[in-house]
């Protein structure tokens, strides 16, 4: 294979592995703050127990996010030098602000948040939690701003083939940025609520009926039930925004070849790009027109208008369907669970069994969503400015193949170890129940020894 394709797979593998962990830490920071604030308000130690269980998951996820993030900051240079050479004047400051304002905020206060409960006052510990949660969200803000600018670039001019910023406000708040940011933050919220719900369901199945389990379970289920309809609405709005600014991506998502009215919604198909048609179509008449234009006769863009300048259809079409499918599943599961928890104050065993694998549904939907939007941007790296082909570096294909193979093995092993630890932590929490000692909470005399 050529270095371009290998470099793309390598970056894709890297960023796919990376996003799994920010998707958890962004929202988990706020959930931990919620646990902490509930504890501060009620003095109920079960909240703190939930906090200590999940702060371990946070620490591990954060570490995985840091190391895979470091990798990416190097890969811009090792594999994609053309990217920074062309748009460095814009990508640079956005990345710099991410590192400066956000990354440091998280990294420096993480120590206090993780290990400082008995070393600083409760107020400072809560503040550290706020700063870490704020830092992760700020990280997301800058990265999404850059990614969205690559999708819908504005506020710059080209001089000698190099982009120069003319309007920073327009660059940061570019047309797709608010939609993508909201969509991603909600995705993170859903990822975390299903993870918490799923692992709590696992504890439930193992007979754990402790107060901290109930608190975590309810937090996960109710958060998911509230967020999922908002996410479906936000996703729809994001789609309409894409229709306006990147119609070829929408055409690929819908596998619609010809521009025209009364476009059906395709439920299943195998898009064939060579023949420029779909095989084995199952459709709802006028569906796509109704969703995208809110009228049966609404005109939906077709791929044939963008021949040679549209993304590969098959992966975009299917990634989008996986994301939407998982979203629907999330709606069904979270609302059923919320119903049982609210009305019956119990969880049917079958539902608990479903919730355990759904712990990873957020990851699946997040990845599928990012594949939709990132592959949907091809063949451009920065829409209309820089093609992916023109950004790849001079590194030999054999080098890239070697590093790619090792990265893939490494990531697979780390992922297995990570999931193993999550299950181990959940089962350990299930075994301990409410009986594990909480020296920092229970024993007030011990709680705040001054650091010497």
């Amino acid at each position: 294979m050529d270095p371009l394709m290998l470099s793309r797979i390598q970056f894709g593998a890297n960023i796919s592995f990376h996003i799994l962990f920010p998707a958890i830490t962004i929202a988990l920071g706020w959930v931990l703050l919620f646990f902490k604030l509930r504890y501060n308000a009620t003095g109920d130690s079960a909240w703190m127990r939930a906090y200590f269980t999940w702060v371990k998951v946070f620490a591990l996820s954060f570490a995985m996010g840091v190391v895979s993030g470091v990798t990416m900051s190097f890969q811009f240079g090792t594999n994609w030098p053309g990217y920074m050479e062309t748009v460095g004047n814009i990508a640079g400051p956005l990345l710099a602000y991410e590192v400066l304002t956000a990354f440091f905020l998280e990294a420096a206060f993480l120590g206090i948040m993780l290990f400082g409960f008995r070393r600083v006052s409760n107020r400072i510990h809560t503040l550290a939690t706020v700063l870490v949660a704020g830092g992760t969200t700020l990280s997301a803000f800058w990265i999404i701003a850059l990614n969205s600018w690559m999708q819908t670039p504005v506020g710059f001019e080209m001089r000698d083939g190099v982009a120069h910023a003319t309007d920073w406000w327009a660059i940061v708040f570019n047309p797709s940025m608010p939609y993508r940011l909201v969509h991603m933050l909600l995705a993170s919220g859903l990822t975390v609520s299903f993870l918490i719900g799923g692992l709590s369901a696992l504890r439930y199945l193992y007979g754990d009926r402790s107060e901290s389990m109930w608190k975590a379970l309810r937090t996960g289920v109710f958060t998911a039930a509230i967020l999922i309809p908002i996410q479906i609405f936000a996703g729809d709005q994001h789609g309409l925004n894409t229709l306006e600014h990147q119609p070829q991506k929408i055409a690929a998502m819908e596998a619609n070849w010809n521009t025209g009215p009364n476009v059906p919604l395709i439920l299943f198909a195998l898009p064939d790009e060579a023949a420029r048609e779909n095989r084995f179509e199952v459709t709802i008449p006028d569906g796509a027109s109704l969703i995208l234009r809110h009228s049966a006769s609404g005109v939906v863009p077709g791929l044939n208008d963008y021949a040679g300048n549209h993304p590969p259809v098959f992966p975009v079409f299917w990634a989008f369907r996986i994301m939407v499918g998982v979203g629907v599943l999330m709606l069904v599961v979270s609302w059923s669970a919320a119903f049982f928890l609210k009305r019956r104050h119990s969880l049917p065993k079958l539902l608990a069994l479903v919730m355990v694998p759904m712990a990873l549904s957020g990851w699946l939907a997040t990845l599928a969503g990012w594949y939709t939007t990132e592959i949907g941007r091809q063949p451009w790296l920065v829409t209309g400015v820089l093609k992916t082909t023109d950004a790849v570096g001079p590194v030999a294909g054999s080098h890239v193949a070697l590093t790619l193979a090792i990265y893939l093995i490494l990531y697979a092993l780390l992922l297995i170890a990570y999931l193993g630890v999550l299950v181990h932590l959940a089962l350990k929490a299930a075994k301990d129940g409410d009986a594990s000692p909480l020296p920092g909470v229970m024993n007030a005399a011990l709680s705040q020894p001054a650091a010497k």
């Binding site: 200590f52 702060v55 371990k56 620490a59 591990l60 570490a63 995985m64 840091v66 190391v67 895979s68 993030g69 470091v70 990798t71 900051s73 190097f74 811009f76 240079g77 090792t78 030098p81 920074m84 050479e85 460095g88 640079g92 400051p93 990345l95 710099a96 590192v99 400066l100 304002t101 990354f103 440091f104 998280e106 990294a107 420096a108 206060f109 993480l110 120590g111 206090i112 993780l114 290990f115 409960f117 008995r118 070393r119 190099v162 120069h164 910023a165 570096g393 001079p394 590194v395 080098h399 590093t403 090792i406 490494l410 780390l414 170890a417 630890v421 181990h424 909480l438 020296p439 650091a451």
Partner: protein, 334 residues
Amino acid sequence: MTLPWPTLLPLIFAGLMGLAILIYVILDGFDLGIGILFAVAEDAEQDTMIAAIGPFWDANETWLVLAVGLLLVAFPLAHGLILSALYIPVFLLLVGLILRGVAFDFRAKVPAGRKQRWNRIFFLGSVIASLAQGYMLGVYVLGLDFGLAGMAFGALVALCLAAAYAAMGAAWVIYKTEGELQRKAVLWLRRALVLTALGMVAVSLATPLASPRIFDKWFVWPAMLYLSPLPILSAVLFLWLWRQTFHLPKADDRHALTPFLTLAAIFTLGFAGLAWSFYPFVVPDRLTIWQAASAPESLAIILAGTVVVLPIIIFYSFYAYRVFGGKATDLTYD
């Protein structure tokens, strides 16, 4: 004398990048070093050593992201050139950092039986990352030379930098622990110092010999006179620290932090020497900082944020170090 902004900005960013690298080398140096020292420490000691770096390593590693980030955003041409030339060592560095970063967390959370495995991975990752950094430094010092000489020199610097990090790690252990482990760390420090000194001499000799341009920067009168404090002071500090290792630990734990600070001072002096050698190039003899710099308006907007944020970062880093000051105790979340 007034300098126009397009001249001044790349200079400021070169300085900031240098500062970030120096802080990274000093801070991540001690926690990488502790990973290296895992090889000679016993089980219980390993837990204490981890507790000595637990709250800090995330932030320490972030300085590397800042340094590479500044290279990326302020000198994009150099970033591409240097990193694609160093493709494989960069890759090894990353694998090392990934392994040690996650091993750090995994070892504390896996079932007890698997802890040993992650301890080994922590050691391995730390060694790989240190060696890769040293190798890159060596190859870079010789102007990205991938001939046999360049690679051999790279390998030598790799070993010496790993030793230097081990020395930093030992110095940190002296500061953060007491009793038997502290006494052991003094011995580790003494041994690591020998290789560290060797490495600094090797780099100091190779740099001017490899490049006539650098030779001329150092060995002309009166520059020689102004520069002489760098090597002399380094040598004095080395010797003094070497003698100290025969008297530590002292009663009441006085001077426990002194070895670490002395090493940091030596690193700073060595770094200043390197900076003087390379100035004004960011890629030796190929690309000056002005040729590699981003557009001035982009640099200006980054600088605006940097001057506000950097002091805050430094301030709260100090705060975090103070909160976790004193001897290392067991790391607990609750």
